[in-house]
């Protein structure tokens, strides 16, 4: 830790930083207003699938960068799970050195263009910003700036491909191509390993591709990052389900010396209430996969999706927001969120909730479904909903929703999307009985090295956390890469001696 603090201090004392810091008085910096992200108009964007946020202009980015005080004790960094040197990348923007700024991001974060878009900044980096902590003002727009620098680099055509060490010929296998797997792949290939990523689906990217919609995270951005990994030498094998197409044992025989399991929390949960298997009641994974992965909304593609007029989405997380806003874009007249807690307690990113409100999404908070009804063909046509009130705080610290007896009423619906959460993907644990898992089915690992109970198997991301965030998954990936590296080195050391 001291080491990191020392480095940060040394960086901050460099002449270019001092110069920039002195250019504007702190008082002038703190009196500036937080930048507003240019967006597509709500009633335009809720009819197309293009990205809502259009990105800051250079002038806007430089101005926002000026707000950052380049604090002696940059608390923002402690709010970032991968510890990006935030003031350094922001001051590079203020200086106009956008490509340099992007390089700073890449020192610790392999997917800045993704994180700038999807991190819940309001509970991570921005929540720890001096502006929030001490000044009670809007935080520096760290996420917008991160996105700006990463986009600038990508659009410049000058993407810096990290240096790759001489190949050491040691094969490592990554299971799952979500953010955790991509992060491991990026580090291991840099250190000279022969890296293969195995992915069950026909596309690389995990939730970034099949879950998060185009209007929040265009696939093209993920693809550029994947191309970079490819050009660094990472091999990708799609349509390969580890456990069935080939087992970890088979791969060991083929010479793989260590594995990272980043297989995600792919198993959708249902509420197990009456009528939940009627037609046109989907899991959010099915709904979003049809639209995002299979392109169902585009008539040129063969996969169908039902786009209803009255759509109810059950849940209050990012997945629920993505589903409800997707339904609007597929032409729904009424798109409703039905969530058993209050709006303040919804786990979704604040920006998404705001965007959803602007897009005419109806929020039915403190409501919970209890039963579904269908027409003679089995198509859902009504649901019974119960009102809730907030009781005592539960283990998560949030007030527990309690049903209000006798408050049931009915709502007309023709499509329902259940977005109440996911469970860990059982494929890998099922195919490796020797792997220690928790009662919830998540893989048990050592917190520092991410090593599992099987010595050559490391794990991270949602399969360990049971559902978290992109940046936490990537943070795990980087830790696991370090863990794998030292495991392999140690083994090689033993072999020699």
């Amino acid at each position: 830790m001291d080491n990191i603090q020392e480095t940060l201090k040394a960086e901050r004392q460099k002449p270019w930083r001092e110069e920039i810091r002195k250019a504007i008085k702190p008082k002038d910096r703190t009196s500036m207003q937080r930048v507003k992200m240019p967006e597509q108009e709500p009633d335009v964007r809720n009819k197309n699938h293009k990205e809502v946020n259009r990105g800051l202009t250079e002038q806007m980015a430089v101005k926002e960068a000026q707000r950052c005080l380049d604090c002696a004790n940059p608390t923002c960094i402690s709010g970032c799970p991968v510890g990006i040197n935030i003031p350094k990348f922001i001051k590079r923007i203020e200086q106009g050195e956008f490509l340099e700024s992007a390089k700073v991001l890449k020192e610790t974060n392999a997917l800045p263009a993704v994180c700038g878009r999807v991190c819940p900044q309001e509970v991570q980096c921005e929540a720890s910003c001096f502006y929030v902590q001490k000044l009670k003002k809007d935080p520096v727009a760290i996420g917008f700036l991160e996105r700006f620098a990463a986009d600038y680099e990508r659009n410049s055509g000058n993407i810096s491909i990290p240096e790759v060490k001489k190949k050491n010929g040691i094969k490592v296998g990554i299971i799952g191509s979500g953010p955790s797997g991509l992060a491991v792949a990026g580090d291991m290939v840099k250190w000279g390993y022969d890296v293969t990523v195995f992915e069950a689906l026909h596309e690389i990217g995990g939730v970034l591709k099949y879950g998060i919609p185009e209007f929040r995270l265009p696939n093209e951005i993920v693809d550029v990052e994947i191309e970079n990994l490819k050009s660094m030498g990472v091999k990708f094998k799609t349509n390969f389900v580890v456990g069935t197409t080939g087992s970890v044992d088979d791969l060991r025989e083929e010479g793989f010396e260590a594995f990272f399991v980043g297989s995600g929390a792919g198993l959708p949960r249902f509420m197990n209430i009456k009528g939940e298997n009627y037609r046109r009641i989907f899991s959010s994974n099915e709904y979003l996969t049809r639209v995002n992965l299979m392109n169902a909304a585009n008539p040129d593609y063969d996969t169908p999706v039902f786009s209803g007029k009255n759509v109810a989405v059950i849940g209050g997380g990012n997945t629920a927001m993505d589903s409800v806003r997707t339904s609007k874009r597929l032409g729904a007249e009424k798109s409703m969120i039905i969530y058993r807690r209050s709006i303040e307690e919804m786990p979704a990113r604040v920006e998404e909730v705001e965007h959803a409100k602007e897009e005419d999404i109806i929020f039915m908070n403190l409501n919970n479904p209890v039963e579904y009804f269908a027409d003679e063909n089995g198509n859902v046509n009504r649901m019974r909903v119960q009102k809730m009130e907030l009781g005592e705080p539960d283990s998560s610290g949030r007030r527990r929703p309690v049903p209000l007896e006798g408050s049931e009423y009915e709502v007309d619906v023709d499509t329902v999307v259940v977005a109440i959460g996911v469970s860990p993907n059982p494929l890998i644990p099922a195919s490796m009985p020797e792997l220690d898992v928790t009662d919830w089915g998540t893989i048990k690992v050592d917190q520092d090295s991410m090593q599992s109970s099987v010595e050559d198997v490391f794990a991270g991301g949602d399969i360990v956390r049971g559902g978290a965030t992109v940046i936490l998954a990537m943070g795990d990936g980087r830790k696991a890469a370090a863990g794998m590296h030292s495991y392999i080195q140690e083994k090689a050391g033993k072999r020699k001696s």
Binding site: H202, D300, Y301, F306, N425, P426
Partner: protein, 274 residues
């Protein structure tokens, strides 16, 4: 990328394709299936692995034309490439020496039944099979089924071949005359429902292999969910085989039609382009 090595037309509506897929060929067991996506814009459809040759590295798929994708697949030729084939998926059939096993297949369901019947035969069982279809043309793989069955009854709805009647009539004929230890049924959902009711009357444990709508085939979407013994199960990862007497077939049949209207329209539009 998987190449079509060989193609054979089994009848007007059913084709057999032999496909290059070495990894899958090596790993697959009776009961497994694959998910196929034929081109960049294609959908993902599940198909049972009807046979495989580990040495040649090929798997055999038998496909019935019912909609856009299966039709396109039936028009593909030797040498053509499928962009994606993933598998083997699902749980393999538990094969043991049970005594006498009754295999009841309907229509294209005979294709997935074949490897299971073979495996039971190899495990030392007496295998008695009933194959059923609407008419003579729709009976497929008769020779192959005959090879692995001690007795084979053919039933057609119109009596154009074998005996006239439904699959259940053939099953009853067997069940009336000998002790059956296990029944396996694969075919259209409605057929499996009645086959299952029949064996229930005779108290014969029965497994059915379900063909629900699927998207990913890895347990990620829940499109394939069915109710078994009052609980929601995912056919792709918990199945595809379940205790037939506990399956809610009516719900399954209802869910199978989820995209019916849209698919019929898509299919009609597609047929016009041919």
């Amino acid at each position: 990328m998987n190449k079509i090595i060989e193609k054979e037309q089994l009848n007007n509506n059913v084709v057999k394709l032999i496909i290059d897929a070495p990894r899958i060929a090596e790993k697959r067991k009776a009961g497994h299936f694959v998910i196929v996506k034929i081109d960049d814009k294609g959908e993902r459809i599940p198909l049972t692995i009807a046979d495989a040759d580990a040495k040649k590295g090929t798997i055999t798929l038998v496909i019935q034309k019912v909609g856009v994708t299966s039709h396109k697949l039936s028009l593909m030729e030797e040498g053509d490439i499928l962009t994606d084939v993933v598998g083997p998926l699902g749980n393999a059939t538990e094969i043991e020496n049970e005594g006498t096993v009754l295999c009841a297949g309907g229509g294209v369901g005979i294709a997935p039944l074949l490897p299971i019947a073979r495996a039971f035969k190899e495990a030392g069982n007496r295998v008695v099979s009933v194959l059923a279809a609407r008419n003579k043309d729709l009976i497929i793989l008769e020779e192959e089924m005959k090879e692995c069955s001690d007795e084979l009854i053919i039933m057609t709805d119109d009596g154009s071949y074998g005996k006239q009647g439904l699959v259940t009539h053939g099953m009853e004929e067997i069940l009336d005359k000998e002790k059956v230890n296990l029944a396996v049924t694969i075919g259209p959902a409605i057929m499996m429902k009645f086959a299952s009711q029949t064996t229930k009357k005779y108290n014969v444990p029965t497994i059915a292999s379900l063909n629900t709508i699927m998207v990913d085939g890895t347990g990620m979407c829940g499109a394939c969910r069915v109710t078994v013994d009052g609980k929601t199960k995912f056919v792709c990862v918990d199945g595809p085989e379940f205790d037939a007497h506990k399956i809610d077939f009516d719900e399954m049949i209802m869910r199978l039609g989820a995209y019916q209207e849209q698919e019929r329209k898509d299919y009609e539009n597609y047929l016009e382009t041919l």
